[in-house]
């Protein structure tokens, strides 16, 4: 059964409709990539799933409807969202940012061990623990955003352009960690990316969005071999 399923998902900002009824499903334990050009509606898709924009259509998570619910309630079901722009609490310390990620959890001992586990992924954050998060570099803030999301112990992780503004080496490292998180912790991932080549390497399935509509979907390998995708998004 699909962990998350959207049917006829539409979303608008004021009078401007951005998503025109898209359908997709995320299998439990999978990594799904959403590809598309600037302005195609990728970020809006993630925001629509979390109730951060006005939507119509039917979204189910673990079989239960979540469309129309409050963002904070959706998050509490186990959907963590690394937003566009990273969403850092700039005036709080790195540690406070991480602890906020676990705000809804009651299992204190497990939170402490999760912190330690996250430091094994991102040792840099441990060095920056007492530092104001706003003073971290872009790459460090991206690590922090991913870590904050993982502190929720989510079932599903929504990642909005994790490669944005990062050095290529760091991007590769981050994607490796995402793969580890997916395999070891069984966190399903929905990944929105402009870097289509890397996203397709990581993902099991992919959807291609153009101007608010799904134009192509399938296994990541098939999508990679599609001629149009190769020319427009992979550039060879």
């Amino acid at each position: 059964m699909a962990l998350l399923e959207a049917r006829g998902l539409r979303a608008s900002y004021g009078p401007t409709r951005v998503l025109h009824g898209i359908d997709f499903a995320i299998d439990e334990g999978s990594i799904t990539a959403v590809l598309g050009a600037n302005g195609a509606g990728k970020t809006t898709t993630l925001r629509a799933l979390c109730g951060m924009v006005k939507t119509e259509g039917d979204v189910r998570f673990g079989g239960a409807r979540i469309d129309g619910r409050l963002t904070e309630d959706i998050v509490r079901l186990g959907i963590a969202h690394v937003p566009d722009g990273r969403g850092t609490f700039v005036n709080l310390t790195t540690e406070e940012n991480l602890r906020l990620g676990a705000y809804t959890r009651k299992d204190r001992a497990a939170v402490e061990s999760d912190l330690e586990r996250i430091f094994t992924y991102f040792p840099r954050l441990k060095e920056r623990l007492r530092q104001q998060a706003g003073t971290l570099s872009g790459g460090e803030q991206q690590m922090l955003a991913v870590s904050r999301a993982l502190m929720l112990r989510p079932k599903l992780l929504l990642l909005d352009e994790p490669s944005f503004g990062l050095a290529p080496l760091l991007v590769r490292e981050l994607f490796e960690i995402m793969r580890t998180v997916n395999q070891r912790e069984r966190v399903s991932i929905l990944l929105v990316e402009q870097n289509a080549a890397m996203a397709l390497d990581l993902a099991n399935r992919a959807y291609l969005i153009e101007t608010g509509r799904v134009v192509l979907s399938g296994a990541a390998d098939e999508i990679r071999r599609d001629d149009a995708v190769r020319r427009s998004y992979l550039g060879y």
Partner: protein
């Protein structure tokens, strides 16, 4: 010299009260970006509740505690019922609502309790402590109560998960939702806490200025000056500003401009700070790209 020390110390006592009220203003400013003009009247109304409880035969401290809880509830209710529906309204609309709250609370109190000035008891002894000649017991006690309140707030915001969540909401509501914080309730709780701090300030100042529906007008003005001096978005700055304004007011009033013109110290400070250093001494300078 003795008289001067006395002026400074009693300035610290009223300064602590300005500090509390300034802190309440800052707490609401941080989440709404607006100064709550009704803050003083909320405190005044709560102080009348304390007066009713004490007059009904309740002991001072139980009445004090009950009043703080009442103020907390009052703040939460005002946020949920009055402020929430206009959350996204233009600034001026909200300012008008603040002023309306001020007028409504003021007149309602006058209507319920009449405008006659009442005395309000102090929980501290009449005789100065340790036979000193510098400061009355009530003033000393008010400083103590203020410091306890400030310390409790510091511990709450700095070391508890709920306090952390409230700080998170103040700076980034969207990210707060994404970690599962119920932002609406945090805003309401912020109003509640601000009202509770204000109520303590009201009960501490009432024995000095006496109880009447307009008692908070001047005091709120000093609190504005204090908050601006410290930096309207800096809680620590507001507290320091409060003490500075209290001492300045007393010393200038006694030696320079006379008691009748005391209030103009606050107005002068407000204008001076806005002209010279609008972000205050501890506030952040906000730069906006246009």
């Amino acid at each position: 010299m003795d008289a001067f020390i006395h002026q400074v110390l009693s300035g610290l006592a009223t300064g602590g009260i300005y500090a509390s009220l300034a802190l309440a203003l800052v707490m609401i400013y941080q989440v709404t970006r607006l100064v709550n003009f009704a803050q003083g009247e909320m405190a005044m109304f709560s102080t009348y509740i304390a007066w009713s409880l004490i007059n009904a035969g309740m002991g001072y401290w139980p009445a004090f505690l009950l009043t703080v809880l009442f103020a907390l509830a009052l703040g939460v209710v005002i946020e949920r019922v009055v402020i929430r529906p206009v959350e996204n309204a233009p600034v001026l609309a909200i300012v008008v609502i603040f002023i309306a709250l001020l007028v409504i609370l003021n007149s309602a109190t006058g209507w319920i309790y009449s405008y006659t000035i009442k005395t309000f008891p102090s929980p501290f002894p009449k005789e100065p402590l340790f036979g000193n000649t510098y400061i009355s017991s009530h003033e000393l006690g008010a400083i103590g109560v203020t410091l306890v309140v400030l310390a409790l707030l510091y511990v709450f915001f700095r070391f508890t998960p709920l306090g952390l969540a409230m700080r998170a909401v103040a700076q980034n509501p969207e990210s707060s939702r994404l970690v599962g914080i119920r932002v609406g309730w945090m805003l309401a709780l912020g109003w509640g806490l601000a009202a509770a701090v204000g109520a303590v300030a009201g009960m501490m100042i009432a024995p000095i200025v006496y109880l009447d529906p307009n008692m908070m007008g001047g005091i709120l003005l000093y609190a504005f000056a204090a908050a601006l001096l410290g930096g309207i978005d800096s809680p620590g700055g507001a507290v320091i500003g409060g003490f500075v304004v209290g001492v300045l007011e007393n010393v200038l009033g006694a030696y320079v401009i006379g008691n009748d013109l005391k209030l103009s110290v606050a107005l002068g400070l407000i204008i001076g700070v806005l002209l010279v250093r609008p972000s205050g001494f501890f506030g952040k300078v906000h730069v906006t790209r246009v």
